[in-house]
Symmetry: C3
Amino acid sequence: MHRSARIGILTVSDRASRGEYRDEGGPAIEAWLDAALTTPWVALRRVIPDELHEVETTLATLADTEGCCLIVTTGGTGPAPRDVTPEATEAVCDKLLPGFGEQMRAVSLRHVPTAILSRQTAGIRGGALIVNLPGKPSAIAECLDAVFPAIPYCVDLIGGPYLETDPVRVPSFRPAHARPPD
Amino acid sequence: MHRSARIGILTVSDRASRGEYRDEGGPAIEAWLDAALTTPWVALRRVIPDELHEVETTLATLADTEGCCLIVTTGGTGPAPRDVTPEATEAVCDKLLPGFGEQMRAVSLRHVPTAILSRQTAGIRGGALIVNLPGKPSAIAECLDAVFPAIPYCVDLIGGPYLETDPVRVPSFRPAHARPPD
Amino acid sequence: MHRSARIGILTVSDRASRGEYRDEGGPAIEAWLDAALTTPWVALRRVIPDELHEVETTLATLADTEGCCLIVTTGGTGPAPRDVTPEATEAVCDKLLPGFGEQMRAVSLRHVPTAILSRQTAGIRGGALIVNLPGKPSAIAECLDAVFPAIPYCVDLIGGPYLETDPVRVPSFRPAHARPPD
C-alpha cells in the first residue's frame, strides 16, 4: 500500500488572508493537480499574508513537519514592497533551481511583456520541492503546464514518492534509468 | 499639474570618466527615452569610473536624494576585472528582478554569441527601478526595446509617476486593473 | 613561441572517483575540445567525489596554481543532496556569469523537460573561466556547442591566452576591436 503524496498549496496574499478577497490561486492549483496527477495525493492548503517571517515558517512547517514532497505557492512574486515570497523561498531552501523561474518567465512572456517583473523561483528544502507560481489563475496553469513535466523526476531525486501523471494532461518525463520496469 | 518624472542615466566607464573617450552610451539612452516617453521627464546624467563604491553611492544618491523613479546604467557589465556595475546594483537593491537580465541576454543572443558574457541585472531600491544596459549604443536600443514595455507598470508598483509611452515607438503594457479610466 | 593553453577538466562523481563507474564526462569534454581548438592546449584531468570542500579546493588549485584559463566541470549539478558542483563554483568565483546557465538550460530544454532541474552556472576566478557542464556525454556536446563561441573572447577579457577554434566545428566570436590584424 502506498501512502498518499502530500502536497502543500500556499496562497500568499494580504487581502485573501483577511477575507477581503476570495483566494482564486489556491483552488486553481488544486484543480490543476487533481486533473494532472494519477497518484493518490492530499492537498495541504494554507492562506497567509505577505509577511516574510510567516511565509518562511509556513514553508518550513509544510516541508519538515507535514512531510510535503512538493509545495506550490501563489502570489507575492512581483516587485512591490509587500511581495516577499521569493525572498522567503530562498531563505528556507538548501538549493535553488533557477531553471524553473527562467522557464516560467519565458512562457509568460509569450502572453505579457510584464512577465519579466516576476521574481518566481524554486528550490529544495530537505525532501520538499518548493515552486513559486504567479497569482493569476490563467498564468498559474501556463506555468504548471510548462514546469510540471520535470517535477516527478525531481521529487524522485530528493527521496519523495513516485508521482505519476495523466500523460494526456501533462506528460511527465524521467530518464530511462529512472523508470520502473514494465 | 504633474511634476516631471526624474530618470537617472549613469555611464560607468573608466575612460569616459577621464575624458579619454566620448560617452556614447548615456546620449544613446537619453535619445531613446526622448523618443519613447510622452510623459514629461528630466534626465539626471552622471559619468563615473568603474569603481564599486562610486557606482553604489551614485545609484543610491540618484534613488534616495534625487528622487529618480528609474535609473538606467550603461557599461561595466562584462566579465573583466574592472566590470562591477552588476555587483553595485545588487548591493544597493532591496529586490532583484532576474527577468530583465534573462530577457536582455536572450535578445542580444540573436545578434552575438558573446551576449552570455553580460551580467546585466535589474532591481528595486526604494522607489527606483535600476536597470543595467550594455555599453554599445546599438545593443542599448535592442535591450530597451525588449524590456521597456514592462517598465511603466513596474514604476507604478513601486509608487512612482504614471509613465506613458508613444505606442508606435514602444507599446507599454499594464494589466486591465492598472489602467486609468478613459 | 606560445605556451600551450592549460584547460582543467574536472569530473565530479562519487562513483567515478571510487572506480565503480567509468568516467565518461571527462573524456567526452577532452574529445570535444580536441576537435574544436586549433590553439595548442593541454588537458589537466581530475576525478573527485561530490564533496563540497574537495570541489572548491580542486577548482581553486586548477585556477591559481595550475594556471588554467578555462576549467570545465561535469557532474553534480542536479537537485539531489549530493549535487554540490554549482555551490562550489559560486563559492570560489569572484564573478558569476548567469548567461551560461540560462543558455545551457534553454538548449537542453529542446531535448528534455528535466533540463530545468540543472543548476549549471559559470563564473570567473582570477584568470580562469569556470563552466559547469552536465554529466551525460550527449548533453555535454550540446552545451559546449552552445556556449563555446563566447569562451575565447571571455578568456581574452580575463587576461588569458588567445584561443582559436576550427570555424567549421565551432565558430568563435570576437567583436571587431578584439580581433588581431590580418
